[in-house]
Subunit: 340 residues, 2 copies
């Protein structure tokens, strides 16, 4: 199925469905592709004869796999579109296929545009799931221009070489010491920002959609976000009651970290409570008005991206250490979920 | 723990925790009591020495039991406050205690006020979980006034005699043929409204908080809601694409009904898709903009209570039959989830 700029290839999933005779399928579609759901359903139903249902729960990443919830709903098979699986998860209650939504664009223009900046440097290559297959092409162009490139291997949370996700930059930190700068192939600023904060290396963004190359622009965004984070930390200094949030989604579940944080707060004579939720959002936290500061061990994006939506300052575990004085502002780093 | 007008008695739950040596507890608190969470946590922690975490997921009823989500979070025991359990659920993945939040009020005033209306009639007594223990007192007052009262037994979804919940009025329909009118003890209009629409009998509301007795007022609300439902049905007549929503919460999961509805729509040459979600809300449905009409097999309250929040008309399975012409408007009845 082609929904420009995306190509979604259901062949493998369809083969499994037909071989196993699965009759009832659940389709999980990432937010950006949800409004095309009829095309996906029609295609898979036509090729398999199965009934294809759709999950209406939020689907932002590999954390959002349909889990034991659907066990009793007589679903034989799940197709998740657009997210690479977590390799550390070996078994799903309902068998699940991950179908990538890849973007096939000509990267030569944007990479050639970046050559003057990259020249003379050792370059680390990273990208996100939908562009990761283009990194070999990028590598070849750099080689032709005598630029040495490296592609790192991530931890057990990362499926593909060079792949970074919003909560894990291990494929970048893996090669960080060997390189001078990173080339991020893709769009958006969240991933390159996390990359920069995790590795402290310069990042060149090559956007294959607009053919734009950005480098210093990222510093402005980084400064803005860091000012915001500094503000959140400052607002949390006088907090009396802390809420430690734990995401119950497979792939989050940092309950041990939550207990460590609770112990830390206990020893600083700070009151704290652990709040567990599948899907954190401001509405679900409305009943906890007497909490002065939220520490999120759930998706690291909640604190960074959704900061403005919460009335209470929401900080990451690293940021709490700065609040409590056990880490300095100069030690600031991006929250990651590593090696589960 | 007393939070006027509620009394929450944790004794039984505490006994279990101490006997079994449970160390990590999850507390589920209904929306209206959530902002008192610190009192509950302190009490249970003091009496048990366990760590008490709090669920931040929505908790509107017995459907919202912490399920397999928390299996990997090392929680030994769940305490759910304020909802009666579904008797048909025999086993929970994590052992669960249901702790009622009861309201102890003097009902004599409001019942005596209702005597003139009830006199000479056979009366069915119904209430909600927090007042159900007061029905015996009500029964005695009626007996003293020579009024014959009946308390019905619900189906496998209902724990206590005379108890009604938002999606099940079986404890009322059980005795409907033997009585002239119902006495509903409690507040709010949703339950008496469902009661009236399910049983077609007059309902006298006795509100023990305000000591008000209401009868004809309910007809006005009923008429308003029915006009709204009539409007939703009218708006759905020309719908081309239907979304059938299935709640994945334990206690909802009407997937078989969803497939029946899909078959019906197929035979009327209407396109339809089954949407599965744990927690339906307008935000989760934003990606399904080309759907013209939603048929909800999830919580019956979604269509009735939250109707105004959705851009798309949202109707119940009974209402769909009216849309498709297989039932008449005069056959209108309230959607219930019965005998799971």
């Amino acid at each position: 199925v082609i929904i420009p700029p995306f190509e979604i290839d259901f062949k493998k999933a369809i083969k499994i469905i037909n071989e196993k005779g699965y009759k009832r399928i659940l389709l999980q579609i990432p937010e950006g592709l949800k409004n095309h759901f009829t095309k996906f359903v029609e295609h898979v139903e036509k090729e398999t004869g199965a009934i294809v249902n759709i999950s209406a729960d939020p689907c932002y990443g590999a954390c959002d796999i349909a889990n034991s919830d659907i066990e009793k709903l007589k679903i034989d098979f799940v197709i998740q579109i657009g997210h690479a699986p977590f390799p550390f998860i070996k078994n799903y209650i309902v068998p699940t296929a991950f179908v990538n939504a890849i973007v096939n664009l000509d990267v030569s223009k944007v990479i050639e545009k970046a050559i003057p900046i990259l020249s003379g440097n050792k370059v680390g290559l990273v990208s996100t799931a939908q562009h990761i297959h283009l990194l070999n092409k990028v590598n070849n162009i750099l080689l032709e221009n005598n630029i040495e490139a490296f592609i790192g291997k991530g931890d057990r949370r990362i499926e593909k070489k060079g792949q970074i996700i919003g909560c894990n930059f291990s494929a970048a930190t893996d090669i960080s010491d060997s390189i001078d700068m990173f080339l991020f192939l893709g769009d958006g600023v969240f991933h390159p920002l996390g990359l920069k904060l995790s590795t402290k290396k310069p990042v060149v963004i090559c956007n294959p959609y607009t053919n734009e190359v950005q480098k210093s622009e990222l510093d402005d965004i980084k400064d803005m976000i860091l000012r915001q984070r500094y503000g959140a930390i400052a607002r949390s200094k006088d907090a009396r009651i802390f809420g430690i949030i734990v995401g119950s989604k497979l792939g989050q579940q940092r309950i041990d970290l939550a207990y460590e944080i609770k112990d830390k707060l206990d020893s600083c004579q700070k009151e704290s409570y652990i709040l567990i939720s599948n899907n954190f959002n401001p509405a679900n936290l409305e009943g906890f008005r007497n909490i002065d500061c939220l520490v999120s061990t759930a998706c690291p994006r909640i604190a960074i991206d959704d900061y403005m939506q919460y009335n209470t300052p929401i900080i990451t575990p690293v940021e709490l250490d700065i609040v409590l004085g056990s880490k300095k502002w100069d030690d600031y780093r991006f929250d990651e979920i590593l090696n589960p």
